[in-house]
Amino acid sequence: MNYKAVIGLEMHCELKSNSKVFSSAKNGYSEIPNEFVRPVDMAFPGSLPVVNKKCVKDALKMSLALNCTQPEYMYFDRKNYYYPDLPKGYQITQMESPVGINGKTIIELNGKEIPVYIHDIHLEEDAASLDHYYSTSCIDYNRAGVPLLELVTEPCLSSADEAVAFLEHMRSIYQFCDVSEGDTKKGQIRCDVNVSIMEEDDKEFGTRVEIKNVNSFGGVHDAIEYEIKRQSTLKREGRYNEVEQETRRWDEETQSTIHMRSKVDAVDYKYFVEPNIPKYKITKEWLEEIKKEIPELPLECKHKYMEKYGLSDYDASVIIKEKDYVDYYEECLSLGIDAKTGSNWLTTQILGEINHEEISLKDFYVTPKLLKQIVDATKEGTISSKQAKEIFLKSCTEKKEPKSYMSQENAQISDENELNQIVGSIMERSQTQIEQYKNGKTNLFDYFVGQVMKETRGKANPVLTKEIITKYLNS
């Protein structure tokens, strides 16, 4: 039989900012070690932390976006422990009064909406990074002091898929609120996972196992699956007492979790209030101001696109995947491009093109404004939809406005009088063919169309051309 899994997540996400969270050094990624370092990042004696207000603001923004309760005062705590990547011997974090508590957000999985409860969200600093070699280790302090937002869920998730859906949902919220790039490849998101199992009708949770430092969403998925299986096997075999409250780590190579330390060895972090940062009152006015900066979140956009604009679930889901897509789409709408037309262009041609070119939509040449030229011309019938696609591709590769491919010379001939004249003159010199046609050689119809196209170098409106030819031949 299968057991019920109970999963909680701790998600660390690096925030975007010019400088670090308690230091004026640059918050950036560099191949050169120790490039972005101020005295406080290496804990030189006498250096002091100074709070980056932008980071506090972004943390509050996320707290609001996740429907958390905000504290009256902003202050920080010290988490004390020794480790080579922790220069001060303590991390400045928030324990007593996190920037948000008791939040809730709705995620979507397989068409079902699931509430996820947030225990707390708090602002802290990242540690330095370590590179281990055969007999030495090197410390790079570029990352020391980078702002981190740690989010802790309640143990309310029940599968690996739900956990990953939640992480993806959170990543897109971070991106939508413009507080983080959320790039797992750069190590900007790192997770700890708590897993326990229980009988379907159990009232109490089973023994909780923590898995530390899982650095990819795939890893989170696999670690949870592995851990559920490991615990279930033990339980099934009647050896559940062997599941101990412990910290394990996910080992990519062996695709398994490995014991790190038991609960009895748990570190006492001796938290206390950081005395160098005065308590800061969070005013209602400030919160209101921040609230205004929170954009429509992905799920809200999706609902809007489906209900208001009649997009399919699939198309709406594709668009809300990235903030860039939504921005592009919203701009299309505001320029007056028809909702479905815009969606079709975006989800097929445009995404295809940027994937092919491996660029971001932000850097894509055909902006909504340029797209509008194509859409309008198609709507007016100046170009065919086939031509529209051609012009789009040409515009992409040659980086020229679509309009430039729609000059008088290139435009489709849809004028009835003009086509009448052209067809008329062709008919005059084709008496022989007309005779043959009238005598039953009806496949010569295409010959006449071909002649018109030859004459107009393919620009004649084909539908209209056919109509006119039919008229001539039947007259």
Binding site: P39, M42, A43, F44, P45, G46, S47, L48, P49, V50, V51, R78, N80, Y82, Y83, P84, P87, K88, G89, Y90, S137, I139, D268, K270, Y271, F272, P275, N276, I277, P278
Partner: protein, 491 residues
């Protein structure tokens, strides 16, 4: 030629009148430093290549001064008097020292201290015991021991100190000089090696109240590198000392001053308290009302324990950066843990290790509520009690310590035998740190041929008022500007 035993204003006049050059002053100061080093071991570093500078309108320009060794000074060894930083040369300068440098002041030495400011005896510096220039068998108290000794010896008119419990104001009393710790945040702590951040203050030791005002006017100012510093551009301490007496009412605390509270009082204590009441009489002569107030003895007695708990807790965290990994001598060992342990085991004195153990103990999850949090609550009670006094009184006036400088030999044993009431008297200056109150010690006489001091403490940001009162009281007494060489007689 002898200028450095004079006041800042006098020396400035001499410089302006070309009676002496800055370079000559610096040379004289270095010479005196060497003399005192022989006698009292007051310095970690004497900056022998210090140079005079051109004299400007700034009162401090061209005049030598000393810096306690827990201030970060660029390109000059800064050890905090600890083996862990025995070879540490910083690459940045503390904000307050930079302000003095910008004013043209010339740093000539780094003064020895109790290791990282943790101690009140001047006996725990990695360079050895610091002795009192008035009597080398006595201690200077601490932790700004070297600074106090040097100013008392006339090496220069002022030296920087730091004060977490009484580390400026106690040594000042033991060395017969002025020690001033302004309101928390008036002077930036950026570049001051931390001991207990919520209690740490920068400050100065001088031979007169006005000199203290001049120096702190220059050291102070809001600093973007210290979030606890505040805008004090409207505070003018020097000007405040020029005004007629601004204060009206003082109080002293019965439990700390009444000889009846100390049944086993030594003669020194009896004289010290009697002398204190003479000073109280002088205050009355100035036109100040002085009232006796009574404070719950239990609360007063709790102060010393509160200090131990809070300062040790913050210290154990603040000094966690000393691992020998980034700076300091790299420890030996096969793992990072062994290396850190080796560095810290060899680097710290037993006294500091003891404090780390206490600090860790009171912060542990199972102890935090009982010790650390309760200490924080009692801290607030004490601060509220003092704030309440400041509703009625301009300043609290109290004797400093239980007498003159203690002997270096045998004082440890003595401390163990002190009654709680006596300990409360010996350590009440900590309350100034609990509340961040401005607090100044000035010399008020002699007991047993050695100087003793009196302390004035006012409410936060009342530094101008405090220095004004202190200036007028100081002017009533003959100890202004005294050095240990030119002993002045008792009143």
């Amino acid at each position: 030629m002898k200028f450095l035993n004079k006041s800042i204003e006098e020396i400035h006049e001499s410089l302006k009148n070309d009676e002496v050059t800055s370079q000559e002053l610096v040379q004289e100061s270095i010479q005196k430093s060497k003399e005192l080093q022989e006698k009292c071991n007051a310095f970690v570093t004497i900056i022998e290549d210090a140079k005079g500078v051109s004299v400007t309108e700034n009162l401090l320009s061209g005049i030598p001064y000393g810096v306690k060794d827990n201030y970060s000074t660029k390109d000059v060894l800064s050890t905090g008097s600890s083996n862990t930083l025995a070879d540490y040369v910083p690459f940045f300068t503390a904000t307050s020292v930079q302000h003095l440098k910008d004013a043209g002041a010339v740093m000539v030495n780094k003064t020895a201290m109790d290791e990282f400011g943790m101690g009140g005896t001047g006996t725990t510096a990695h360079t050895g015991v610091i002795r009192n220039p008035w009597d080398v068998t006595r201690m200077c108290a601490g932790s700004s021991s070297g600074s106090a000794a040097a100013v008392a010896y006339g090496v220069y008119p002022y030296a920087l100190g730091s004060d977490t419990g009484d580390s400026i104001r106690k040594p000042a009393a033991y060395c017969g000089i002025v020690g001033y710790k302004p309101t928390y945040g008036l002077i930036s702590r950026y570049g001051l090696f931390p001991f207990a951040s919520s209690l740490d203050h920068c400050g100065v030791l001088t031979r007169s109240v006005r000199d203290a005002a001049i120096v702190v006017d220059t050291m102070k100012g809001q600093d973007k590198y210290d979030m606890t510093s505040w805008d004090s551009s409207s505070v003018h301490l020097f000007e405040a000392t020029k005004k007629p007496l601004l204060g009206k009412k003082l109080c002293y605390i019965k439990e700390l001053c009444d000889i009846k509270n100390f049944p086993d009082a030594t003669d020194e204590l009896k004289d010290h308290l009697a002398n204190f009441f003479k000073t109280v009489e002088l205050c009355k002569e100035l036109g100040l009302e002085v009232e006796e107030v009574s404070i719950d003895q239990t609360l007063l007695n709790a102060s010393a324990s509160v200090y131990v708990v809070l300062s040790c807790a913050e210290a154990t965290s603040n000094l966690s950066n000393l691992t020998g990994i980034i700076f300091g001598k790299r420890g030996e060992g096969n793992t990072w843990k062994e290396m850190m342990m080796d560095h810290r085991t060899k680097g710290f004195s037993p006294l500091i290790k003891r404090r780390f153990v206490i600090g860790s103990y009171v912060l542990q999850k199972e102890n935090q509520e009982r010790y650390f949090k309760n200490a924080a609550r009692v801290r607030r009670l004490l601060v509220d009690t003092w704030k309440n006094l400041f509703q009625t009184y301009d300043a609290v006036i109290l004797p400093v310590g239980i007498g003159p400088a203690k002997p270096l030999e045998g004082s440890k044993e003595m401390i163990g035998k002190m009654s709680e009431e006596l300990q409360a008297l010996d350590e009440h200056l900590q309350i100034g740190n609990f509340g961040g109150f401005p607090s100044i010690t000035i010399p008020n006489g002699f007991v047993n041929g050695l100087p003793v001091g009196v302390n004035l403490t006012s409410n936060c940001k009342e530094d101008e008022l405090l220095l004004n009162i202190a200036y007028h009281l100081e002017s009533k007494m003959p100890y202004k500007g005294q050095t240990c060489e030119v002993k002045k007689n008792e009143l």
